[in-house]
């Protein structure tokens, strides 16, 4: 699939960017899952003109609106974005490939803590939030991967190259059959369950589940949600700051030509009003850049 502007993220920033880019009559593809957006769990009461509205309803309307303006919505997580010549190549969780002239990054900020006892005290001593960083420290050991979405699947598959055994602990899976097949082929052990405690003193020794079961593991990888903005940006060649924030100018341009960013990925306050404001700027400027107009 080809696009002029590819937008990564179906939260308020991404959808507003899709609306504004599509209004400029360029071909827009917006990718992601609205349920991953922080707005999906919110009741909106502080946005101009809306007294009270459920976040999921606002997102649903936003998707319809973007489609009405001509944007194509692809409800799949993005696994990779790379620069390929003058274009960008985007790969989704079903291995769908999209080529685009400009990219808008609107993946939101990661709030990926599990919030169970043992998590905070064992970070760096068996608890990790980054499989690609830390997989190498778990050669020959048994590890648990916790999560329901594409980041968990990718992490579990990667860890099978290092660990002796990888147990994927999950509640309700929200991942494509394609990724599940890849995980099965990599011999990832699937364990439905709800983690309640990470055990260990000096380092991780086990994982307790709500139903009383205990898994004998030496590593716990917490990989909630979709692949994070930080990792996608790094793979693309952008360098976020240590808090994961992607730097943009007043036109929502990043340090990379034809790459724009908006919403929570660019920093706080993590507010709907800021997200849609930046989304409009990023979408409009990305479309102008494709049409070779001035911002």
């Amino acid at each position: 699939m080809d696009a002029d502007v590819a937008i990564i993220g179906l939260g308020p920033a991404g959808l507003q960017a899709a609306i504004h880019a599509a209004r400029k009559k360029v071909k827009v593809v917006a990718l992601g899952k609205s349920e991953s957006s922080a707005l999906n769990k919110a009741e909106v009461v502080n946005f101009f003109g809306i007294l009270s509205m459920a976040g999921p309803e606002l997102l649903r309307i936003g998707r319809e609106q973007a489609k009405n303006f001509g944007a194509t919505i692809v409800e799949e997580d993005v696994m990779k974005v790379v620069k390929d010549g003058d274009e960008f190549k985007i790969i989704t969780e079903t291995d769908l490939e999209i080529r685009a002239k400009a990219v808008v990054l609107a993946m939101g900020a990661s709030r990926a803590k599990l919030n169970v006892p043992g998590e905070a005290s064992l970070v760096g001593r068996g608890v990790s939030y980054c499989a690609s960083c830390d997989a190498g420290f778990f050669r020959g050991r048994t590890v648990a991967v916790i999560g329901e979405e594409s980041e968990a699947a990718e992490s579990a598959i990667l860890l099978t190259e290092y660990a002796a055994k990888v147990i994927w602990v999950h509640r309700e899976l929200k991942v494509s059959p394609n990724m599940l097949q890849k995980a099965a082929a990599a011999k990832v052990e699937m364990v439905p369950g709800d983690p309640t405690k990470i055990e260990g003193e000096a380092s991780v020794t086990g994982l307790e589940l709500k139903d009383g079961r205990r898994l004998d593991v030496q590593g716990v990888f917490i990989t909630l949600g979709a692949k994070g903005s930080m990792e996608l940006a790094l793979e693309l060649g952008l360098l976020p700051d240590p808090s994961g924030r992607i730097r943009v100018d007043e036109n929502c341009r990043t340090d990379m030509e034809m790459v724009y960013a908006c919403g929570d990925v660019t920093g706080s306050p993590w507010q709907l009003a800021r997200a849609v404001g930046q989304g409009a700027i990023a979408g409009d400027n990305a479309a102008r850049a494709v049409r070779q107009e001035k911002s």
């Binding site: 970070v123 760096g124 990790s128 980054c130 960083c133 420290f137 790094l234 360098l239 994961g244």
Partner: protein, 129 residues
Amino acid sequence: MDELEQIRERKRQELAGESGADWPSEPVNVNDGNIVDFVKRYDVVLVDCWAPWCGPCRMMSPVIDGLAKDMRGKVAFAKLNTDENQKTAMRYTIEAIPTLLVFKDGELADRWVGARPKEDLARRLQAML
């Protein structure tokens, strides 16, 4: 910066120069063979444990470089590639990167895991001086 602060800064830089010509203004690459000597050479040392494939480590690199310049004469900074120096990684039970090991008087005094802002690190290091 007012005049007094400029004089103070000049004095600090002079003292840093006098107290040891080998105060590094950028992080020194250390390895399994020389890390112990390095951490004993200075009162406070921060060792950034990293690996080439680690994205958050790349994010931290300019932060550590900047701190090495800003805190020259007070804190010495080093980098240790955990992939090439697994003995040290095992000795300090490093299981996540970036891990920042902080040594005071040659002994491990603290460890901070994960990417964090420059101001936060500067504040923590200042508290150890």
